[in-house]
């Protein structure tokens, strides 16, 4: 699925980050109050991009967890960028909450109330990347929009390529 139209190159009447803006489906600043509506916007955008339902639910939750993480631990706000380049959908969440003490991506003990967000984002996408900057954290997840066959109604297919499955029994 390719989009024929491209952003005009070097159009002087449209100042902006040329190149950086390529393939951008969503660019939004967020804070706690906008977390829920942002999730709706991400959901709509990934659906339009052609991500199948199951993968979309996982991807949207992964993104939501990264947004939540930025709100709770990354200074209360951040910026989300959702891009589609070729058939890879990437969402980047940038916060400016200062240096992160630790970014645990592991399974929390069952009696520990917190610490599951990054684990979820990782398990749901298999593509979590965390970059610690001096002034905050850049987190991203990505997924291939053609990763699963377009099965609309019949779940009968047994050779469907599932998304990254959590390793069971660990």
């Amino acid at each position: 699925m390719t989009h024929g139209s491209r952003l005009g190159e070097g159009d002087p009447t449209r100042p902006g980050p040329a190149g950086a803006g390529q393939g951008v489906l969503l660019h939004q600043r967020f804070a706690e109050a906008s977390v829920t509506s942002l999730r709706g916007a991400v959901s709509a955008a990934v659906s339009t991009a052609g991500l199948s339902d199951g993968l979309a639910e996982d991807f949207v939750l992964a993104v939501h967890e990264l947004v939540t993480n930025a709100v709770r631990h990354g200074g209360g706000k951040g910026t989300l960028d959702l891009r589609l380049l070729a058939d890879v959908l990437t969402c980047e969440i940038v916060d400016c909450g200062g240096p992160a003490g630790g970014l645990p991506v592991r399974l929390s003990p069952t009696d520990r109330p917190g610490g599951r967000g990054l684990w979820l984002a990782h398990q749901l996408t298999g593509s979590l990347m965390l970059t610690q900057r001096p002034d905050g954290v850049t987190a991203s997840v990505s997924v291939c929009v053609t990763a699963s066959p377009a099965v609309s109604s019949s779940p009968a297919s047994t050779d469907a390529v599932a998304g990254p499955s959590p390793s069971e029994g660990t």
Binding site: T36, T68, T110, D111, R112, W119
Partner: protein, 110 residues
């Protein structure tokens, strides 16, 4: 749409057993309220069951509220269980390793 109204709950009680039915999509903006609802219920009931059949979305902060309630219940010798998770919610509980703990059938059976 007001995102604050993305979910609601109903409470039923009999014989010291409280059943809380959650409906909607719950995320970090509702997790604090949910935490308080569950803790309050555990103050007054010997057993608390949370029916989440009508919940289409939870995140890690909601799981935290469930786990905290479960911990409170255990420390006060009460029981707490989450029942009827739908497919997506069940998957999230499974990935985070708390499905069995939270839905432990030995905890509460109405």
């Amino acid at each position: 749409m007001n995102p604050d109204l993305a979910w609601h709950y109903e409470t039923g009680a009999h014989d010291g057993h409280t059943i809380i039915t959650l409906i909607g999509e719950i995320d970090m903006r509702g997790a604090g309220t949910l935490h308080d609802i569950l803790q309050k219920a555990l103050h007054t009931a010997e057993a608390v069951t949370v029916d989440i059949a009508g919940v289409g979305f939870i995140d890690s902060t909601v799981i935290s509220a469930f786990v905290a309630a479960r911990n409170s219940a255990q420390s006060t010798d009460r029981t707490f269980a989450v029942i009827n998770p739908g497919a997506q919610v069940r998957r999230v509980l499974q990935i985070t390793g708390v499905l069995d703990t939270l839905t432990d059938p030995h905890s509460v059976q109405p």
